[in-house]
């Protein structure tokens, strides 16, 4: 018995020595990975945990923090109509802008990859161009295009005898305007990712399928799509995250001025991220705004992103096994 205890203790000491030696041997590896963990804990983990802490408080950033428990969440779920309208707008924009944008990008990538067309490099660069444009430039460009009295779009429409459309002013047209800019700006980026995915597919597979007598649609549905699944998964998940945090384009087109509210008429262009930002930094004071309230919003958004991504992942995984 005593011997056993001794051996165990000895074994443990031995293990510790090995571990220490192991650690010493790998010291440089630790040194080289340390910056990431250091930076992540300072700029990633700490703000995240602090955000959780904040979401249980009422805080305007200057005065003393006030502990309110779950009250922020309760208010968001029960009385804050504008927040849910913003969530609705955000999901609406995801469905009507992001999903078509991904489909369009996939089709374009397929066309460019197909070998039917020339000047591939030109098209690739041209479609990607909007993505690198700065937000300010895009904002100025589209606010002139969408202008009610002097906008380019309304000028073109006037040739067809169509009345002026208040693109950014009316609740009816604001969302379609945002959709248009979103598709314009993001299709090229998605297309490049899809294109990379397409090009990584072994051409021998296509050749073999042709030899077996498959036509283009067979090739697309039976070879391209299954092999593209990981790329599509990546695109969809990053798009869900991006769409739930939709901010720049709506702010550019309907960010509010001295004489208009953010989100435009009827809050038609107000996204969840916008409402969050305004609550935290602009309105700031009171029990239905401020940093704490906005943190609670951000966690609701966070769980929505996790849920959507998980659901898509699951649906996607099931299909994969069926094939």
């Amino acid at each position: 018995m005593a011997t056993t205890t001794f051996t165990v203790a000895e074994q443990k000491a031995q293990d510790r020595r090995t571990r220490r030696k192991e650690a010493k041997r790998n010291v440089w590896a630790y040194v080289f990975v340390a910056p990431f963990f250091f930076l992540y804990s300072v700029f990633g983990l700490f703000p995240l945990l602090y955000g959780v802490f904040l979401s249980f408080h009422q805080w305007d950033g200057i005065s003393k923090m006030k502990w309110v428990g779950l009250l922020n969440y309760v208010k968001l779920f029960t009385v804050d109509d504008i927040w849910w309208q913003a969530i609705y707008n955000t999901v609406w924009l995801f469905v009507v802008a992001t999903i078509p944008q991904l489909l369009l990008a996939l089709i374009l990538a397929f066309i460019i990859n197909s070998g039917y067309i020339r000047f591939k490099d030109f098209f690739r660069a041209a479609y990607f161009m909007p993505f690198v444009a700065s937000a300010v430039a895009v904002g100025i460009l589209f606010s002139s295009l969408f202008g009610l009295q002097y906008g380019m779009f309304n000028y073109f429409l006037s040739f067809f005898g169509i009345d002026k459309i208040d693109w950014l002013g009316s609740a009816l047209w604001l969302k379609p305007s945002i959709v248009l800019v979103t598709i314009w700006q993001w299709t090229g980026y998605s297309m490049i990712i899809f294109l990379a995915g397409l090009q990584s597919i072994n051409p021998e597979l296509y050749e073999a399928a042709r030899v077996d007598g498959a036509d283009t649609s067979d090739v697309f549905w039976k070879i391209t799509m299954p092999l593209m699944r990981p790329v599509i998964l990546f695109q969809v998940v990053t798009s869900i995250i991006g769409a739930m945090q939709n901010f720049d384009i709506p702010v550019m087109l309907a960010g509010g001025t001295q004489s208009s509210a953010p989100g435009g008429t009827d809050h038609a262009g107000l996204t969840a991220m916008m409402q969050l930002y305004w609550s935290a930094f602009k309105y700031n004071t009171g029990s239905k705004s401020g940093f704490g309230y906005a943190s609670a919003m951000s966690f609701i958004l966070f769980f929505m992103i996790v849920t959507f991504s998980y659901l898509y992942n699951r649906a996607n995984g099931r299909n994969l096994t069926e094939d």
Binding site: Q258, Y283, T285
Partner: protein, 465 residues
Amino acid sequence: MASNDKALSRRRFLRFAAAGLGAASVAGVLAACGAAKPAEDTGAAEATKAPDAPATEATKAPEQGNQAKVELTFWWWDGNGQIWADAYNKLNRSATVKFVNTPYADAHDKLLTSFASGTGAPDIASLEIGRIGGFTAKGGLSDLKAAPFDGGKYEKDMVKYKWTQGSTEDGRLVAMPWDIGPAGVWYRADLMEKLGLPSKPEEVEALISHTKGKKWEDFFALSQQVKEKSGGKVKMVADAATDIYGGALRQGGEGYFEGMKLMIVEKATRPAQLAADYRKQELDANIGWWGADWAAGVKNDAFAGMVIACWMQGGLSRDQPQTAGKWRVVPAPEASYNWGGSFCAIPEQCKNQEMAWDFLTWACCSAEGQNAMFKPTGVFPAYKPAWADPLYDAPQDFFGGQRTFRVWGDIADNVASITRSPYDLQADDIVNAEMAKVMKEGKDPVQAIKDAEDAALKAIEGSTP
């Protein structure tokens, strides 16, 4: 063996460290030393001794000797802030001022963030009237009446309502009044003349200004004439929601609160009715303010005037220089009013409070500083002694030789008092959202304003400010 390894790795480590330091340092000096000497030896002393190291590199940390001065940072959201920095730096006082252009959209958010995190605030911050309520009621700004400051003595020199806005309820002064926004009716003399309408300031004043007992209805009548004479091509103003509502509302005092009492229905109903009526009669050009469409509208002579404050001069001379000399100004119908204006404050984080105070008092509380800014930009001083300058009686080229500065001064003296609340911006946005429905969807203005009050009450209920 082991100790050998260790020594080797330490030497390698030092080399890495030296290389890292070398890369981080601005001058290449350190990299050269680092290769020869261990890391401890390479200090800031080395860099400062180097003859070619520019003195301006050490920004806030004072160096030995009195070559380099303390540099104060000053935040404002208009590129014209450089005017103050340049003029002040020429005086050669104990500190220099570095102007940082913080875009209006996030200037106050940045300041708020620096308060929340306890670091990063400028030495002198500017605050706009629409956001001041959110700062005075809280903390983070120094009391300019307490030592080392002596701001109390400027009270008699400042426009009264402005002083109240910069003060807290317990009587501290946390934001020094800087400029005010006396507002009136601007019109294009060239367009009025072309339409065969009166174009001299005295004539137009007699038609629409409150100084001649005229009301908004008289302004509507003139607008009707502009529309008729031009065949509908030229309207009097761009957007009733800004020109009519914005003006009429502020005549009752800017903002929707009196103390903590919400006054949306009392203050906004008539202005909303006026704006809705104006739009219904198609008297405005239906061009939203502040955007590309508005700028194109000015270029295309789509509207012959605007109802706005004096600070519009700065932006117009920069963006629409072709209109310089064509504008004239007369007092608004019904009453004088104020639109906008700013304050200067010294955050508690400021390390060189006395030097910041020296700049702030020069800029805001001296005729020299205030007029250095006012002359080129039209940013109108809240500091009344500045108005004594002969400059204020001089004809202005931008206004075709009209003595407009005197017009502004007369307006400023007669502005209704205004109180600010931390909920100002929220209330503004709620009412603006309802006004959009009135203007864009034809919603009944009375109902819209009622709905706005309900929404605002809901937004702030249960709040402890």
